[in-house]
């Protein structure tokens, strides 16, 4: 499945919960902490709002990587949302791996509103991982 990687700019869809990870991304901005522009954030109230269908849809439409970021377990703005996220997306991540999707391409991370630097680092590392893997053709709509 590896394709030409030269000049390849991956597209990464990041579902970020409003209260922690989106705020963390804001903080990365306020702190002028650069990370690759390949990352596109979709704002959701809580990581538990992320339907697995949204993840599959992103891959279908051409995302090379998808990340769901939420508050740390125990810190969910909605008390328990991310605990459900953890169960649902653990299952989804293993299922996608089983279906042959490189696990690097679908990630779940906990990033708090005070972790601007972590947000930038996670996105930098993720982009590097995906860049190394090359463009994703799996699950993707025929062009």
């Amino acid at each position: 499945m590896s394709v030409a990687k030269e000049g390849f700019e991956p597209l990464i869809v990041a579902f970020c919960c409003n209260w922690c990870s989106y705020a963390g991304a804001d903080l990365a901005g306020t702190g002028r902490m650069p990370y690759p522009a390949n990352v596109r954030i979709v704002r959701v109230p809580c990581s538990s709002r992320v339907n697995p269908s949204f993840v599959i849809r992103a891959f279908q439409r051409g995302a090379d990587g998808v990340i769901v970021a939420g508050c740390h377990p125990g810190d969910c703005h909605y008390h328990s949302g991310n605990f459900f996220t953890r169960r649902r997306l653990s299952v989804l991540r293993r299922l996608l791996e089983y279906m042959g999707i490189e696990p690097e391409r679908f990630q779940v991370r906990w990033i708090s509103g005070s972790e601007g630097a972590k947000f930038a680092q996670v996105m930098t590392d993720l982009t590097a991982d995906i860049r190394a893997l090359g463009p994703n053709r799996k699950l993707r709509d025929a062009l």
Binding site: L11, N18, D26, P34, A37, R43, V44, G74, F84
Partner: protein
């Protein structure tokens, strides 16, 4: 057909220096549904907002996208702008091209490319925005204060003084909390009881305060303005109406157990008043130790009571009360010293915690205020005070600073010198931290006027030799080992969150940090609010603080409560879950994942051909729903959808992001 207007903000040079605004506007004009695009140097300025309002009217715009700073910054500002132009405020979407773009993607043209993508995504979502109307919530004009230490007392008094009814719930038999146990208070050395007891009496006598002592809050349901709490008033075994508080009952009680109030330094009876100034000043029967309850016979107190107030059959009373707001002031514990065997606590009677020392110094304490060694009753000549026992100790204790120990240790050193002339206080410390008005001066008095010796360094071992204690440690300034012979050791033990804090947090729907202190909504700007609207924090339960800080926070919480109760109604959050009944199968899986118990089953009747069918569907209580969307994902057919973040909207955003 939706008519989307796109407004791109320069934010001075914050955005415009990185993002090519012209290109963004040109690209926006080609996006589906976009009928208008323009820019402004400062969209949030009055001029910028006016230009948005004018364009909406002139261009007949029905959905608005503003490409600017984070929605967490100005979403509310721009919602008002959109509403002022006659549109539903939720027709607005913000493309975050500052925090998520211009500030982090300064290289070449990537910022411009990404800004266009962010605008396209916001346009895709905005085109699917539906009008949302917040619900209006009624407010129960009554407050609940949990915990009646100094913070809870202050909050209750301030709310009550503002004219609102307050229920003050305390799990101990008396109000007063930790402050009641203290002797003097730093930095003024006024007597703790002298300043606290008048407030306790005020509470007892206040027309607007209902006191529930020896009571626990068992359950809290509901939401801001509309909480319902279940309070268990544990049976004291005393008819509070009949009891006159004469005290005969506990004089003759045959059972003696360690007094919690005296930190185990003295005994109390099984029927007891925790301390002389207790409010209410009426006894309670400790059923775990009472001879009648453990062995079935005794009843001495009942026989002696002249008022006939002792009633062993009295049962717990359970109240269900509605409140508009809640103040949590549940206080603190001190660290269990099991991991600190090297200090000899529990093995040698003359090694004390600071709280035990506090009782020893107190005129109403077990020794009448004389500082005497528990081992032999003699006054100590040399006393070592060891600070940071469990505080600032990532390995064995707590990483945080307990904040009050430096100051009370200086106080203890001063009190020692006052009470035992010629005695020598020696303090082992890591750093002496004295931020606070008159605090540094107070510490200086301890060293300069009262001759306290401060040794920077930690103690490795405390062990008895003869009738004295040997301390081995290191003076870290001279890097030399220290060995001292002392008569008493006082440990400044870390303060901790209450053991049941996490459980209380779960009951209230508020979070705790890694150390189980309750989390404030914002560490700087919302220090007394929690993330659950209508629930506020006061005192040590939120983190270590001293009395003036606890009182200030309590008054701040009270103002928040009063501000809330002053309102006639509350505007609800319109981005709530919604169930399409025609599609709902009634599987009720959404109810399982709701943290607010906001979804209930409902029976509906519908016609199907000639039959009338009754079936179950889920129904969302919009007052309770906070809009997380966990239920919308649990719903397989998508019958449960989250307003403002609908399946349609998010799928459209994903499609647009990937274009």
């Amino acid at each position: 057909m939706k008519r989307v207007g796109v407004f791109v903000c320069w934010c001075g040079s914050n955005i415009a220096a990185t993002v090519d605004i012209e290109r963004v506007i040109a690209a926006a004009r080609k996006m589906p549904n976009v009928v208008y695009a323009s820019d402004n140097k400062y969209m949030c300025s009055e001029l910028g907002q006016a230009s948005i309002r004018e364009s909406i009217e002139k261009e007949n715009i029905t959905r608005v996208v503003i490409a600017s700073c984070s929605p967490r910054m100005h979403e509310n500002t721009f919602r008002k702008t959109v509403a002022a132009a006659g549109l539903n405020p939720f027709y607005l979407e913000i493309a975050n091209i500052r925090e998520h773009c211009s500030w982090v993607h300064k290289e070449g043209e990537v910022g411009t490319v990404k800004a266009i993508s962010l605008v396209r995504t916001a346009v895709a979502k905005a085109a699917r925005n539906e009008p949302l109307t917040p619900s209006s919530l009624q407010i129960t004009k009554r407050a609940l204060v949990i915990g009646a230490g100094i913070a809870g007392i202050q909050a209750a008094l301030d709310i009550a003084d503002s004219g609102y009814q307050v229920d003050l719930v305390e799990k101990e038999p008396s109000i007063g909390g930790r402050m009641a146990q203290l002797d003097k208070t730093f930095p003024t050395l006024d007597c703790s009881a002298c300043i606290l007891t008048p407030k306790m009496v005020d509470v007892a006598q206040h027309d607007n305060i209902t006191l529930h002592t020896y009571s626990v809050v068992e359950k809290v349901d509901g939401y801001v303005g509309n909480f319902t709490a279940t309070i268990r008033k544990k049976s004291r075994g005393i008819d509070m109406e009949k009891c006159t508080g004469c005290g005969i009952c506990y004089e003759k009680c045959p059972v003696k157990v360690d007094s919690e109030f005296e930190a185990g330094m003295a005994k109390r009876r099984a029927i007891y008043v925790p301390f002389p100034q207790a409010v209410p000043n009426k006894p309670v029967i400790d059923r775990e130790n009472c001879r009648y309850f453990t062995q079935g016979k005794c009843k001495v107190c009942q026989k002696l009571c002249p008022a006939g107030a002792v009633d062993y059959e009295l049962e717990d009373e359970v109240l269900t009360v509605e409140y508009g707001a809640i103040v949590v002031a549940t206080g603190f514990d001190i660290l269990d010293l099991q991991a600190y065997g090297e200090y000899g606590y529990g093995k040698h009677p003359d090694v004390l915690t600071s709280l035990e020392f506090e009782r020893l110094v107190n005129a109403s304490g077990p020794t009448g205020g004389k500082i005497l060694r528990p081992s032999d009753g003699k006054p100590p000549r040399t006393v070592a005070f060891i600070q940071c026992v469990g505080s600032r100790d990532q390995a064995k204790g707590k990483a945080y600073c307990s904040k009050v120990c430096c100051m009370y240790t200086a106080k203890h050193a001063i009190l020692l010198r006052e009470k035992v002339p010629g005695a020598k206080p020696i303090v082992f410390y890591i750093d002496v931290r004295t931020p606070g008005k008159d605090y540094e001066e107070f510490y200086n008095r301890a060293t300069d006027e009262y001759g306290a010796t401060y040794i920077r360094g930690q103690v490795g071992k405390v062990y008895p030799e003869g009738d004295r204690l040997i301390i081995r440690g290191v003076d870290s300034l001279s890097a030399r080992p220290v060995e001292l012979e002392v008569d008493m050791v006082v440990l400044a033990v870390a303060v901790t969150a209450r053991a049941d804090a996490a459980g209380v947090g779960r009951m209230l729907g508020i979070t705790t940090n890694a150390h189980q202190f309750f989390n404030e909504a914002h560490p700087k700007l919302r220090p007394v609010e929690t993330h659950s609207a209508g629930i506020y924090l006061a005192g040590m339960c939120q983190g270590p603080k001293d009395i003036p800080e606890a009182v200030a926070q309590a008054s701040a919480a009270a103002v928040k409560v009063v501000g809330l109760l002053n309102k006639d109604s509350l505007v609800g959050n319109p981005t709530v879950a919604n169930v399409d009944e025609s599609m709902c199968s009634g599987c009720l899986e959404c109810t399982q994942v709701c943290p607010y118990d906001a979804i209930k089953e409902k029976s509906i009747t519908e016609r199907r051909g000639r039959e009338t069918l009754t079936r179950t569907v889920a129904e969302v209580n919009e007052g309770l729903c906070q809009g997380c969307g966990a239920c919308s994902v649990a719903c397989r057919p998508g019958a449960n959808n989250l307003k403002g973040f609908t399946n349609e909207q998010i799928l459209a955003e994903v499609d647009a992001v990937c274009l």
